[in-house]
C-alpha cells in the first residue's frame, strides 16, 4: 500500500475508534488514537500475516500489551479482514467477540489475551523464546504503553529478552506521555526510557513522531541486529487526530458523547 492509502486507513480506524467508544459509551479512545499509525504500519505493511489463515504457525505475532487500546486494535483487525466491521457495534457488549480487553479465544487475529499491564511484554518474550526453540522464523511484536513501563514485569521480561538474545522480538513503545492520573512524570517518572532499554541490552530506535507513518515504517524496516531484541520508542500524541482529545489525560478511558462524536468524526473525515 502507498503511504497515502495507509494514511486513509488510519483515518478510517480513527473513525472506528470514535464510533466504537461512543456506541459502547465506554472504552479508551486516547491511547487508541495515539497508537493507530503503529498498528496500521504493522498489520497493513510490515507483518507477515494472512487474515484468512489467522492461526498459520509461521505468521508474525502481535501482542497488544497495552490491552486497553482495543478500539484501535479492533479497528485495524476489522479493516484488515479478520472479521466483519459490523462486529464493531458489539464492542464491550454481552456475547461479543470484541471484549473490553483483547481475548485470544474469542477474537480472530488476537494473538494473546492481555489487559493487565506488563504481562503482554512477557508473553511476547515467551513467544519469541518458543519460536527460537521451534525454529519458527516468525517475528514477535509487542506494543507497550509508557505508563505500563512502571510495572516491574516489563523489566523482568526485558532482562530475559536480552539474556536469551531474542532478536526475533520487537517492543514498540507508544510514548504519549500520559496515563490515567496525569503525565508519566507526575505519576511515576520513567526517566530516560531509551537509556534504560539500552542498558537492559536492547537495540533502541527512537521515532520522533510516532504518528508519522513514514517514520514508523522506517524504524520497523531497519534490519534486525543479531542477538539483540529491539525496542522502538515512538513519541506519540494521546488523542491524536481529535483536537479536543489531544494531550488530555482525561480522554484515557472516557467515551465521547454524541455531540463530541459528531465533532470528532468531522475532524476525521476522509
Amino acid at each position: 500500500m502507498t503511504i497515502q492509502a495507509l494514511e486513509a486507513t488510519c483515518r478510517q480506524v480513527r473513525r472506528d475508534i470514535i464510533n466504537m467508544t461512543a456506541d459502547a459509551n465506554s472504552g479508551h479512545p486516547g491511547g487508541s488514537l495515539s497508537v493507530t499509525e503503529i498498528l496500521v504500519a504493522l498489520y497493513f505493511d510490515k507483518m507477515n500475516i494472512d487474515p484468512k489463515n489467522p492461526k498459520a504457525p509461521g505468521r508474525d505475532r502481535l501482542v497488544m500489551s497495552k490491552g486497553h487500546a482495543t478500539p484501535a486494535l479492533y479497528g485495524v483487525l476489522g479493516r484488515r479482514g479478520y472479521f466483519a466491521p459490523e462486529e464493531f457495534k458489539g464492542f464491550r457488549q454481552l456475547h461479543s467477540i470484541l471484549q473490553g480487553h483483547p481475548d485470544m479465544k474469542k477474537c480472530s487475529g488476537v494473538d494473546a489475551s492481555t489487559g493487565s499491564l506488563g504481562q503482554g511484554a512477557s508473553i511476547a518474550a515467551g513467544m519469541a523464546l518458543g519460536a527460537k526453540y521451534e525454529k519458527n522464523p516468525c517475528h514477535v511484536y509487542a506494543i507497550l504503553g509508557d505508563g505500563e513501563c512502571q510495572e516491574g514485569l516489563i523489566w523482568e521480561a526485558a532482562m530475559a529478552a536480552a539474556h536469551y538474545k531474542l532478536d526475533n522480538l520487537t517492543f514498540i513503545l507508544d510514548n504519549n506521555g500520559l496515563q490515567i492520573d496525569g503525565s508519566n512524570n507526575e505519576v511515576m517518572s520513567l526517566g530516560d526510557i531509551p537509556a534504560k532499554f539500552a542498558a537492559f541490552g536492547f537495540r533502541v530506535i527512537e521515532v520522533a513522531d510516532g504518528n508519522d507513518l513514514g517514520q514508523v515504517l522506517g524504524a520497523l524496516n531497519q534490519p534486525a541486529e543479531a542477538g539483540k531484541p529491539t525496542c522502538i520508542i515512538c513519541r506519540t500524541v494521546k488523542g491524536k487526530g481529535v483536537t479536543f482529545m489531544e494531550n488530555q489525560a482525561g480522554w484515557h478511558g472516557k467515551a465521547p458523547n454524541n455531540e463530541q462524536r459528531e465533532q470528532a468524526l468531522k475532524e476525521l473525515e476522509a
Binding site: P57, R61, V63, D103, M104, K105, D111, A112, S113, T114, G115, S116, Q119, S122, I123, A124, A125, G126, M127, A128, L129, G130, A131, Y133, E134, N136, G152, L153, E156, A157, M159, A160, H163, Y164
Partner: protein
C-alpha cells in the same frame, strides 16, 4: 512399600521421562532447579530447560507465550511463590485457558526449617478458585509420575502441588484425574485427604483400628475437579466425614468437600488442617505436630468425636 522419596524428586524424574517421549515438553524454573528437582530434566535436555532467574511472574507469563507456540511448558518454583504471580496465572494463563502446567514444590508446613514465609498453606485455595484450572496433589512418587504424564495430556492449565519431605512410596495404584482413590475401607468414618497427608491418615487409620474403629481413607489427589460422586457416596455410608490437609482449613479440600455436602442432615463434618495461622520454623514433623497434623493427633481427634 519401598524407600521414602519426595514428590519433588519424582517430579524431576517424571519430566525427564516425559521429555523422551514428547519434544514439546519444556521446563521453566526460577533459580530453584536444584530444589524443584527440574535439574534432572535439565541434565537430560539442557536446551529445553529455560532458566528465568529470580522472576517468577515473568516465568509464568513467558510460559504462556511459549504455550501459544505449541509447546507444553512446566513452570516450576516453590508453592509459596505461586501467590506472587497469582494474577499472571489468572490473567495470562487461566483466562485464555492456555496450556501451561505448574509444578510447584515445597508446599505445606513440611518445608520445615525455612519457616512460615516459605510454607504455602493457601496455594490450593488460590489455584482451585481459578476457572478451568485442574488441581492435583499426588501422594507419592509413583502417583507423581502418573500425574505429570496426565497433566501433559490435559489441554489447559494444571497445578501440581508437590512436597519437599521424603514420604512413603506405595505400590502402583490406579490414577485417573478427577477420581478419588479409596486406600482403606471402614464404616466408622471417612477421611478425605491428599499429598503427604495420605501417609499420615493411613497411620491414623492403623491407630484407630487398634482401638476397634475402622475408617475409610480416600486419596483425593485431584482437588479440582472434585470427585463429588465419591464424596456423596462415602458420606452417605459413613455419616462421619473428615478432611485432612497440610493446608489452611480455609479454601482447601475441606471447603471443597463441604460445598458438596452442605445441607445434608445427620452428618458429622470436620476440617482438619492449619487453623487460619501461618507456619513457623522447625523440623518438618515437629511443625506438623505443633499444628495437630500427626497421625496420633488425628486419631485422637476422631476418637474424641465418638
Amino acid at each position: 512399600m519401598s524407600e521414602k522419596k519426595a514428590t519433588r524428586v519424582a517430579y524431576g524424574e517424571a519430566l525427564a521421562e516425559l521429555g523422551l517421549k514428547n519434544d514439546k515438553i519444556v521446563v521453566l524454573d526460577a533459580d530453584l532447579a536444584s530444589a524443584t528437582m527440574t535439574s534432572i530434566f535439565k541434565k537430560a535436555f539442557p536446551d529445553r530447560h529455560f532458566e528465568c532467574g529470580i522472576a517468577e511472574a515473568n516465568m509464568v507469563t513467558m510460559a504462556t507465550g511459549m504455550s501459544t507456540m505449541g509447546l507444553i511448558p512446566f513452570a516450576s518454583t516453590f508453592a509459596v511463590f505461586g501467590g506472587r504471580c497469582f494474577e499472571q496465572i489468572r490473567n495470562s494463563v487461566c483466562y485464555p485457558h492456555n496450556n501451561v502446567k505448574f509444578g510447584f514444590t515445597h508446599a505445606g508446613l513440611t518445608v520445615g526449617e525455612d519457616g512460615g514465609s516459605h510454607q504455602a498453606i493457601e496455594d490450593v485455595a488460590l489455584m482451585r478458585v481459578l476457572p478451568g484450572m485442574t488441581v492435583i496433589a499426588p501422594c507419592d512418587a509413583n502417583e507423581t509420575r502418573k500425574a505429570v504424564a496426565a497433566a501433559a495430556e490435559i489441554d489447559g492449565p494444571v497445578y501440581l502441588r508437590l512436597a519437599r519431605l521424603p514420604t512413603a512410596v506405595y505400590d502402583d495404584m490406579p490414577f485417573t484425574v478427577g477420581k478419588g482413590h479409596v486406600m482403606r475401607e471402614g464404616k466408622a468414618a471417612v477421611l478425605f485427604t491428599y499429598g503427604i497427608m495420605v501417609e499420615v491418615c493411613l497411620e491414623a487409620a492403623d491407630l484407630l483400628a487398634a482401638k476397634g474403629l475402622e475408617v475409610t481413607v480416600v486419596n483425593m489427589h485431584t482437588i479440582k475437579p472434585l470427585d463429588e460422586e465419591l464424596v456423596r457416596a462415602l458420606a452417605a455410608r459413613c455419616h462421619s466425614v473428615y478432611t485432612v490437609e497440610e493446608h489452611s482449613v480455609i479454601g482447601g479440600l475441606g471447603d471443597a468437600v463441604a460445598s458438596v455436602l452442605v445441607g445434608q442432615d445427620g452428618l458429622r463434618f470436620c476440617k482438619i488442617g492449619v487453623q487460619d495461622r501461618f507456619g513457623q520454623s522447625g523440623k518438618p514433623l515437629d511443625v506438623l505436630r505443633e499444628y495437630g497434623l500427626c497421625a496420633d493427633q488425628i486419631a485422637d481427634r476422631i476418637l474424641a468425636d465418638r
